[in-house]
């Protein structure tokens, strides 16, 4: 290991502090780490721990009761259903959008790229409101839907639509830079070898993007299950029918049922922890593959 810096001051101090010129001194490092950890502790650790503390305040039976009431159960099932529809759809949309943006040049490409990022730029409340404006009773299609007795707003379809909108960018944003970096050579090679478009996608493109895809899907799922703002506007908060888990938690809290709301909240926290664990696993695997490839150069 080469030490590139020595602080031998001009005044002839012989005690040389041999230190690598590119790192900070010991106390600066300690200070930065302390600040970061304090920040994390205050804004992350303490709130998360307090969720579990509150959830189990009245003992484990109360906890189990709170998460198995009919309303809670309905909320959990609805959350799972919404995620089960939104995540696969967004995966397909995301892959298609990333593929066209990364592999082709076409008029409107920049526009598509901007549209992909749009849900991130809009406040979730507005995301929900736009669906009310389009499909609600006073909305554009409101009369037509009412005539045909189709319920979108204040019903499950509305919740699914709002969730799809809000979680759309995750898979696409993950894949676009990945596919752009990987370039097109492998696909061209597959074409010259006689593969058709579908075979090329399935056998060459997909395996190359699998870790990025997995990562995007996990994030998409976490957001789909935890979305509050947009779903809140669209759902109507009908207990047992149109309450997703986050909405149910708010309902319990507004009823001053602190222990119950925290008990349900702990489920979402556990989802978050599982998401983080999977994310870390993927990054570790990806780094390992990368190191193996880099080593061989």
């Amino acid at each position: 290991m080469a030490s590139t810096g020595t602080t031998l001051l001009n005044r002839g101090r012989t005690a040389a502090v041999v230190r690598d010129a590119t790192t900070e001194s010991g106390w600066v490092r300690a200070l930065l780490i302390t600040v970061a950890l304090t920040f994390l502790a205050l804004f992350l650790f303490v709130p998360l721990v307090s969720v579990f503390v509150e959830a189990f305040r009245n003992g484990i039976h109360a906890y189990l009761h709170a998460i198995s009431t009919p309303d809670a159960w309905a909320a959990i099932k609805l959350t799972l259903l919404v995620a089960a529809i939104a995540v696969p759809l967004n995966t397909v949309f995301g892959v298609a959008a990333a593929w066209s943006i990364a592999k082709y040049q076409f008029p409107g490409r920049s526009l598509l790229l901007t549209l992909v990022d749009l849900p991130f730029a809009i406040s979730p409340v507005i995301s929900g409101l736009i669906y009310v404006l389009v499909f609600g009773l006073q909305g554009w299609f409101g009369q037509w839907l009412d005539d045909h007795d189709i319920k979108i707003i204040f019903a499950v379809p509305g919740i699914v639509l709002a969730t799809i909108f809000v979680t759309f960018p995750f898979v696409a944003r993950e894949l676009i830079p990945l596919m752009e970096t990987q370039g097109n050579d492998a696909e061209y090679a597959a074409l010259t070898l006689g593969a058709n478009g579908w075979q090329t996608f399935w056998r060459v493109t997909l395996p190359n993007i699998k870790w990025g895809l997995f990562y995007g899907v996990i994030l998409c799922n976490a957001r789909a299950m935890g979305e509050f703002g947009a779903v809140s506007v669209v759902s109507g908060h009908i207990r047992g029918l149109t309450n997703t888990l986050p909405l149910h938690i708010e309902t319990l809290y507004n009823d001053y049922n602190l222990q119950g709301s925290f008990a349900c909240a702990s489920l979402l926290v556990m989802l978050a922890l599982v998401t983080l664990a999977l994310k870390t696993f993927i990054e570790w695997r990806h780094a390992r593959n990368h190191a193996a490839e880099a080593d061989s150069h």
């Binding site: 597959a190 010259t192 070898l193 006689g194 058709n196 075979q199 056998r203 193996a292 490839e293 061989s296």
Partner: protein
């Protein structure tokens, strides 16, 4: 299978990559597309492969053995393509990479056993026996390129196209693979076209060299012809070292005026003779610097009346006989030279040209 590309024009927006060319590649020939970056050689190769298409309104066609394949997709043209950066499938091992072309066939897919036999034979041919289970990231650059070659040959193409195949490799590996390619050609006689910017590679390997510059073909011919009889100033300057004279007139060697006459004279360093004695067609030059180390000696001289510089290449024996010293007046005779009319406005200078000394 011969290739005949006619009326090929390719533009990307406003950028003209190929300016209406025609090229014939005879069956079994090994042809080099040689030129600097941006000359259009890779675009031409990709059009032959079907990875790009000529401009729709140009009427350009690509024919393989008389059959028009301009609108045939690359997978159906029977070409094998090798990329500069290998383009191996990272998630597949070597065996699967080479077998890919055979496994994706929808009609006439060979049985598993036959695929395995063919793959192993190919791996032996590219001198990578037994490495089938390895993954691309476990191989060196030279090995990866050999896998890419085996993969391209697995489908028994009629035409082999290589895009700067050895450009990303170090010098020793490059030499090995060049030798392999020559060897392969001698046994198999597969119509092969390769793109390179390395003139040594083109002159060493090719039966025919196609020199390209700025979206056009400058000259086509066997290596000896392009080197000894360049058709244009560009070819002269691109292949080998060359001296370029604008102020010195070889029509009147002993009476130099030092004024440009609209012509450019090219002469190669090894075609200049130096001697202490004048001759009827020699020019007076002053010795400036002598580089004596190496297999050849180089002497830098300045033409006396015009101030233009010349690089002269001499054998070591000649140098010993001549014993030139700095400032000495000697006489230069040109064995071969070429005079071209008014020089092109933007002629590239791959050979570094020393600027004339400031007047003292």
């Amino acid at each position: 299978m011969s290739i005949h590309a006619v009326n090929i024009r390719k533009t990307f927006g406003r950028y003209v990559a190929l300016e209406n060319l025609e090229l014939k590649v005879p069956t079994g020939a090994l042809v080099a597309l040689l030129g600097p970056s941006g000359s259009g050689k890779t675009t031409l190769l990709r059009i032959m492969a079907g990875l790009e298409y000529p401009d729709a309104d140009s009427g350009g066609t690509v024919n393989f053995h008389g059959q028009d394949v301009t609108n045939t997709p690359p997978g159906e043209r029977g070409v094998g393509f090798v990329f500069q950066h290998y383009a191996l499938f990272r998630h597949l091992n070597v065996f699967e990479n080479v077998a890919f072309g055979l496994k994706v066939r929808r009609k006439n897919r060979p049985p598993k056993k036959e695929i395995a036999e063919r793959v192993n034979k190919l791996l032996e041919m590219v001198r990578l026996p037994g490495l089938g289970h390895r993954f691309p990231h476990q191989l060196s650059g030279g090995q990866r390129q050999r896998v890419a070659l085996a993969r391209a040959l697995a489908t028994e193409p009629k035409v082999l196209l290589l895009d700067e195949p050895f450009g990303a490799l170090d010098a020793k590996v490059r030499k090995e693979l060049r030798r392999w390619l020559l060897d392969f050609q001698e046994h198999v006689h597969l119509t092969t076209v390769f793109v390179t910017h390395d003139q040594e590679e083109a002159l060493e390997l090719a039966d025919e060299v196609v020199v390209m510059n700025n979206a056009r073909i400058e000259q086509i011919g066997p290596p000896q012809e392009v080197y000894d009889k360049p058709a244009t100033p560009f070819v002269f300057e691109f292949l080998g070292n060359v001296n370029r004279l604008e102020l010195t007139s070889l029509q009147n060697p002993t009476h130099q005026t030092g004024r440009p006459d609209g012509t450019v004279t090219y002469v190669r360093p090894q075609d200049i003779e130096l001697s202490r004695h004048p001759s009827p067609d020699s020019v007076q030059v002053v010795v400036h610097h002598v580089f004596a180390a190496g297999p050849w000696a180089r002497v830098q001289v300045v033409v006396n009346h015009t101030g233009e510089w010349l690089d002269v290449e001499l054998s070591r024996e000649t140098l010993t006989l001549l014993q030139p010293t700095h400032g000495q007046l000697v006489h230069a005779r040109f064995r071969h030279s070429r005079i071209f009319g008014a020089p092109p406005p933007t002629a590239p200078h791959p050979t570094p040209h020393p600027t004339p000394p400031a007047p003292s």
